[in-house]
Assembly symmetry: C2
Homo-oligomer: 670 residues x 2
Amino acid sequence: MKVAALLLCSVLPCSAAELNLMPWPSQLTQQDGFLALDHTPHFDVVGEDERIDHALTRFVHDLSSRTGAPFDRHFPGQPDGPQFIIHCAGHGLRVQALEEDESYHLIVSQTGIELTAANPMGIMHGLQTVLQLVQPGPRGWVIPNVRIDDTPRFAWRGLMIDVSRHFIPLENIERNIDGMAAVKLNVLHVHLSDDEGFRVESKRCPKLTQLASDGLFYTQDQVRELLAYARDRGVRVVPEFDVPGHAVSWLVAYPQLASGPAPQGLVRSEHDQVRPPLDPTQEATYKLIDTAFGEMEKLFPDQYFHIGGDEVDGKYWDKDERIQAWMRAHQIKDNHALQTYFTKRVREIVHKHGKDMEGWDEILDGDLPKDSLIQSWRGADSLANAARMGYKTVLSAGYYLDLMYPASQHYAVDPTAGESASLSAEQKSNIIGGEAAQWSEYVTPENLDNRLWPRLGAVAERLWSPQSVTDVDSMYRRLAVLSRNLEWLGLEHRISSQRMLGRIAGDDMPPELLNTLAMAVEPVKEYDREKTQVYDGEAPLNHLVDAISPESDQARHINALAQLAAHDAPARAELRTYFIKWRDNDAPLEPYLATSMLREPLVPLSKSLSTLGVLGLAALDAIETAKPVTQEERKEQLARVEENAAPHAEMFLVIAPAVRTLVQAEFGAK
Amino acid sequence: MKVAALLLCSVLPCSAAELNLMPWPSQLTQQDGFLALDHTPHFDVVGEDERIDHALTRFVHDLSSRTGAPFDRHFPGQPDGPQFIIHCAGHGLRVQALEEDESYHLIVSQTGIELTAANPMGIMHGLQTVLQLVQPGPRGWVIPNVRIDDTPRFAWRGLMIDVSRHFIPLENIERNIDGMAAVKLNVLHVHLSDDEGFRVESKRCPKLTQLASDGLFYTQDQVRELLAYARDRGVRVVPEFDVPGHAVSWLVAYPQLASGPAPQGLVRSEHDQVRPPLDPTQEATYKLIDTAFGEMEKLFPDQYFHIGGDEVDGKYWDKDERIQAWMRAHQIKDNHALQTYFTKRVREIVHKHGKDMEGWDEILDGDLPKDSLIQSWRGADSLANAARMGYKTVLSAGYYLDLMYPASQHYAVDPTAGESASLSAEQKSNIIGGEAAQWSEYVTPENLDNRLWPRLGAVAERLWSPQSVTDVDSMYRRLAVLSRNLEWLGLEHRISSQRMLGRIAGDDMPPELLNTLAMAVEPVKEYDREKTQVYDGEAPLNHLVDAISPESDQARHINALAQLAAHDAPARAELRTYFIKWRDNDAPLEPYLATSMLREPLVPLSKSLSTLGVLGLAALDAIETAKPVTQEERKEQLARVEENAAPHAEMFLVIAPAVRTLVQAEFGAK
């Protein structure tokens, strides 16, 4: 922790040198002593707001869940707990907005708690901090004495969920909003339409409701429930309706608006290749968008309305004679100019209904009005470009959780670093935040939580905490605590993984054998899964790759141990235990693999894990006996490591680097 | 499996010699071959009933959860799965009743499924059996070919939950109804009033709503929701309002009806000792009961209405001059006769409103009309007495899950064995079933599931399956599968235990150290907890005793290993691993125990576990080296085992018998 003046506590019960806060606050001072949380705090609230009342109800409920003590009950005759003074200076806006002050000031002393903020959002953030501070002491629950002055680094701290490719029911979204609030994220961006479905009921365009999905969509009442739920937790909801590409669902309802031949039906898999964009040259297109967006802009109150605009496939425009003629007639020189023409028309519609337009970075063009917001997904340069051109912009490149990267990789992505470092201060101020993204080709309601958490906590910290908060080890320690605490909110990232592993192990085999393999693998990264398993919305996602966490904590630990191994005997001893376990795992596991289609694809991985165990043991032996190894032998061993690190069943053995490190290690063990 | 003609399957994918059915059906024949469940079954239903429609919707949903395959979706153009013919001969009664036929006939062949029943309940039971049969095969999900003719042994297969001492919210009750339906239980008995609170809204006696609880009760709308939920799942709901004892909540609302001095308020802990019964000598008592029972009998449609009647504390009658005078005037000779007078008056009220009366066995008296139903909790003799006297009767003695006994102990309790074995066939027919009971002095919504499951499955099997189904090893194997599958229904018996252990381990210690201890202990049995921790409804139930399962599977395994140890080297090797782990657990765990009030009480248990590990290792060494040990030495070792088996923190080291067995073992290892 570099930014915080963190005093090591000198008295019990503090056994951790570091508080388990995530995101880490901008300023924190810890003092000696603890506040005893003997009974339900006595709340003293200045500044009424319905959201504060709701937040306090949740606070007491969450405090009860977390501690297992009935703080949510006040029994007759029971004394009050410590005083908890809440002072909120203002009501906040009717529709939560970007420019609102989310900072808070928190003082916990031996006698009570004081929480001050300009806005109910600051109060909510402060309450989350208090919850994270609660810990068991020798005589009861306590809160360490602290003074925290906390304010977010960025105003836009978001998560995008794609609910089009696999529909995600409301309850799953809602529990993830609870998770977002726990780490002080404040924007839920819902990708509501794509080639696979239009996921909101439309009353003004009933064909969108009847034809543009497979019956799975949110009713408008559900949307209103979602909006109220999110607002109550300090989270804005930004809806995205993707046009003119990714719009097959619109065209199933309105085939006459296709650029070229209309699609046969909703896209159900990567095999469905007819995916024309909306025709930007027909007035009827703008009429439909006006009607649909008018309705949706009324339904979703946020100032921003996301129109997508990504990945428009120009070949449909190239091939359509009529569109080509229209472009010539209107002196539109290429497809980018045609999309800009479309975007400007749509921006007028969005604006007419009272909102500002947001779009993916493909919409970027100097011609657009400056109130357009650019979401950069293709790289840091598009973010820098947008900022330089005077557009407000939000970074998503580097925060794609569906690419299965470790938390540390997302944590290292800083919106104002890299390409953006050379911007002027004014230009930099156009970078208003970032957004994690979860595309759902390979995500179902069952494993959504597992795909988001706990890694999303690292992104949340990057967007809230000072730029100087970059200690990866500290991040991982606190992320592990966050992960456990999220379970009290009902998030299923851990339990769903366990249940899915149990399904694969079934009734007929010892689950430990599968678990040993499961801890050693991770899903393939980036877009590699597409190469071996074409996206198919109807395919069950119930295999090991779907069950495991995107990041194996155990593998990270093992790979770190290997770095120490050359000079650290206890590290070698621990590695030896793992290697023996791997070596001996395939023989008993193998007979069970053939009997279930869920296990059969694991045959090569299981064999490779055992081989890596054998190679690891040989390398440890060589280190410990200082046995001379020829270049040839080492080369051959490294080749075998690489061979066994190859992906199968959309996974790879993420512990291979540990073995590689040992094989490469200098023989100088002490 | 003694009763079933179970053919061992000769082809893949059957790797289990036994199907994982629980309760085991009355007749089962397994044939070679499997039905491939490639797509959603094509249902062909004869005999319409709303409950069948709902059951099929749930079936397809549960099938999808369990397999992770989208059987709940029928994608356009997708072929049908296997044919599933459902033939239900009748509609069943408007209010589910004891005498309805719950049997079903199920045939699964390579081409499809046929399920036949007289009644929607039989269809529901059959669907649960089909779900339990589904397993993964080498090429997809399959169902083994079987023919099952199944009928329950007893018509009353119940679970009682006490929602008065700790209120249990509706959602927790509902998910346990799903669990009940999964094991074919058919009666939920809700203990709705006691000294701690009257837990149903009363419109006719608003004081009961305003004063007789701490605000935690079911509204009448919630009750109706509960009733519909249960009916939909083949479960009757029998309400209990306990009178004249256990009625302090009534007396807080109507103090003038107390026998002697009125209580000061609701009972909140065992320290509140003023608990008078209702005064059976006042007419106003019967007037109130008539009003309240009239309303509740209308609300709850079941034929049976439970009036409690247990544990009436006669000292209040003895001490009240007015009551004594009244007894003399009415020639009532003792307190039992006074209670019988009361019971008969109440039975008239119950009957007037159209119901039959049920009560705990204290109400038993030859004077009662024969339509009274006796629930026996005090022992098998009261069951036999009731049956002999011509009363229908239900056994609960032996099925008290709150006493923390292992599943095997409940499994061994047979309603028609023991005292009842000598009854005539006609008398025996009065024994209509049994009921598990969960009193809630030490149960909260957080650990209710853990206190019920999976042990309740063993009781369910006892009450459904033929009397000859008694193989304990088979029961435990199938119970483990049931336990996992119940998670797909949302039951939290495993996850809540994990979460609570995580809470105790906190953020500052390696959880494995706590888990090693947790696997070796069980809660103290019977009523021993009361001796060291007086019941207090306000006390947090968040300690290790509250988190662990009432029965440790690992301890059972270890104790069984010890039985083999004298003559089985692999068993000794496995035991040695456990003993070493225990021996080495206290040193690293001990420093963490003092820093949290949740862990501090574990100090002596942790020390004892290590000592037992040392003693176990010494005994193993002695066996393996055939070292001569004197009687004195052995006696001393046994004394040390006993010393370390003593309970602490409401738990005891349930693995002590393994060590004792080894110390006692003859030294003849091979």
